[in-house]
């Protein structure tokens, strides 16, 4: 069994300082989302006559051009953005790791074919791929998650494939096979846990790409439908009033930056010189 005592795990993180700084930032963002699920200053979709107000006690981040409270909308938007990023990761990393593990473990013709297909997918920018997907299946939060998730499969497949190939020649993996252990168990019990370092830092990087891609798509008007908005959509809507209410852009922008920064720092902290957890 993997040792899950937090202290023991933390002691093995190569760069604890970076990791902890990232964790604190990430916890801040998560706290914002959780507080938003319990309490928000206003209904995020409630319009009022107080349009385009600057920063004030009543509206700490001001109001947008429909008189909606920006802080409440940032809290709600963070939730959508986080959800899309996590969903994207679940799909992209889940499928990608599975594909990479199977092709890397078995090799041969299946490996050739699957890897050529993912190479093909890899050649498309993920945002473009997602655009095609969304235009085929419609624009919704869920579809954006699937579109980005599938676009992320190739990069995870590659990383996990090369790690599995490295691990399958290790003595203890050979040894497990020698005991008559089934392939599925060899992969899930002996190989995957031992590539957690590389997987973890790739998950962090992938999460960031997901946040940024989602923001990019939202900026283009793709994703959840108004009046609900993710952070990217808020920025897109607010750009024309930037000079009147800068906080309408800076507020959601800051949360995106914090999300990405938090995960980047954690990912960096996890990486030792050889690129894997010590």
């Amino acid at each position: 069994m993997v040792s899950l005592r937090p202290r023991a795990l933390l002691a093995r993180v190569p760069n604890r300082g970076l990791f902890c700084a990232g964790a604190v930032i990430t916890l801040l963002v998560i706290a914002l989302v959780i507080v938003g699920m319990v309490w928000m200053p206003y209904e995020p979709t409630a319009m009022s006559a107080d349009r385009l107000q600057g920063v004030s006690v009543a509206h700490p981040l001001g109001t947008d051009k429909m008189g909606r409270d920006i802080l409440s909308r940032v809290m709600y938007g963070s939730r959508i953005t986080l959800l899309v990023a996590l969903g994207t990761m679940a799909i992209g990393a889940g499928l990608g790791i599975l594909v990479g593990a199977v092709t890397g473990y078995y090799g041969g013709i299946v490996d050739e074919v699957v890897m050529r297909v993912t190479d093909g997918l890899f050649a498309f920018p993920s945002v473009l791929l997602a655009l095609v997907f969304v235009s085929l299946f419609g624009s919704s939060t869920l579809n954006v998650m699937w579109a980005l998730g599938i676009a992320f499969v190739p990069s995870f497949a590659r990383v996990s494939r090369s790690e599995v190939i490295r691990c399958k020649h290790l003595d203890y993996v050979k040894n497990a096979r020698l005991m008559g252990v089934r392939d599925v168990r060899v992969i899930f019990v002996h190989i995957l846990p031992n590539m957690r370092g590389v997987l973890l830092s790739n998950l962090m990087i992938g999460f960031n790409n997901a946040v940024l891609s989602e923001a990019g798509l939202s900026f283009l008007g793709i994703g959840s439908q108004p009046p609900f908005a993710s952070l990217g959509q808020m920025i897109s809507e607010a750009q024309e009033v930037f000079f009147i209410v800068p906080s309408a852009v800076l507020g959601p922008g800051l949360v995106i930056v914090l999300m990405v920064l938090g995960f980047s720092l954690m990912g960096e902290g996890l990486r030792s010189e050889e690129g894997r957890m010590a």
Partner: protein, 274 residues
């Protein structure tokens, strides 16, 4: 030296014309050529030869661990009426860990760093004796660990590999390999990575396992003095070919092939005269 098992014992493993050839780097490379030998019940068979002579490949072939994609294999490895060289993975799995086990040279890398020792010793039980309860498994594992000479097996059971020394890990490997009392144990240079004292202890342990459980052992080494101490019979390999074989006393006292002579001459005198 100990008495060789009765020669009328019928072989439990018969290798006929084993031929292994790599063809992955363009030009073919023969690593084992027309190798034939038998392993009898409860016998310790040594395979010696310089490094690169194909000993490990032979061991992997018997254990069913060859990557058949990258190799041309011909010949047969007959165990229990089944050709291990050509049967399917499912058939191999039935024997692996149950009837045929293997231990490797590197005790430092042969254990999964993330799993407790107990889990790893129990692996073969979970697969081949799924009907056992967790408590029964634990009991058998601890018994095997005690038999492998691990002090305080109850405590070692809950430890991680990095908490053990090289010699202890090799004992764990042996416990895991013998927990089901296999008919055949393949030991590929099991003591090469250990210091001399530990080496002697492991050799003694292998001898005990052989005597008590009637386990046949294929002992691979480039250390002739070890082979001489332990093995009933010996095969001398060179460049994939068996150049000489026979009762180990006979081969060492009276080497016929010039290569064997050279090997025997290279044994330090101190050991020879002991």
């Amino acid at each position: 030296m100990q008495d060789a098992p009765l020669s009328q014992d019928k072989p439990i493993l018969a290798i006929r014309d084993l031929h292994l050839e790599f063809h992955d780097h363009g030009r073919p490379e023969v690593v084992v050529e027309d190798l034939s030998f038998e392993l009898r019940r409860a016998e310790i068979l040594g395979i010696v030869g310089e490094s690169g002579s194909g000993k490990s490949m032979t061991a992997l072939a018997i254990a069913g661990l060859l990557n058949r994609h990258a190799l041309d294999c011909s010949g047969t490895i007959l165990f229990d009426g089944v050709d291990l060289l050509h049967c399917g993975r499912a058939t191999l799995r039935r024997y692996q860990g149950d009837e045929i086990s293997m231990i490797f040279q590197e005790p430092m890398t042969s254990l999964d760093p993330l799993q407790r020792i107990g889990m790893q010793v129990e692996e073969a039980l979970r697969i081949h004796r799924a009907e056992l309860s967790a408590a029964e498994r634990r009991k058998m594992a601890i018994r095997a660990m005690a038999a492998a000479g691990l002090p305080d097996p109850e405590q070692v059971y809950g430890m991680y590999p990095h908490e053990l020394s090289g010699g202890m890990r090799q004992r764990v490997m042996i416990a895991a390999a013998t927990v089901l009392k296999p008919q055949i144990l393949i030991a590929d240079e099991p003591t090469t990575a250990l210091d001399v004292t530990t080496q002697a202890q492991i050799i003694a342990l292998l001898r005990t396992i052989n005597a008590e459980d009637q386990t046949a052992i294929v002992f691979i080494s480039h250390d002739l003095s070890l082979v001489r101490q332990l093995c009933h019979r010996v095969i001398v390999m060179r460049k994939g070919v068996a150049v000489e074989s026979g009762a180990s006393d006979e081969v060492f006292r009276n080497p016929r092939h010039p290569y064997t002579k050279a090997l025997v001459d290279a044994i330090p005198k101190v050991v020879l005269e002991r």
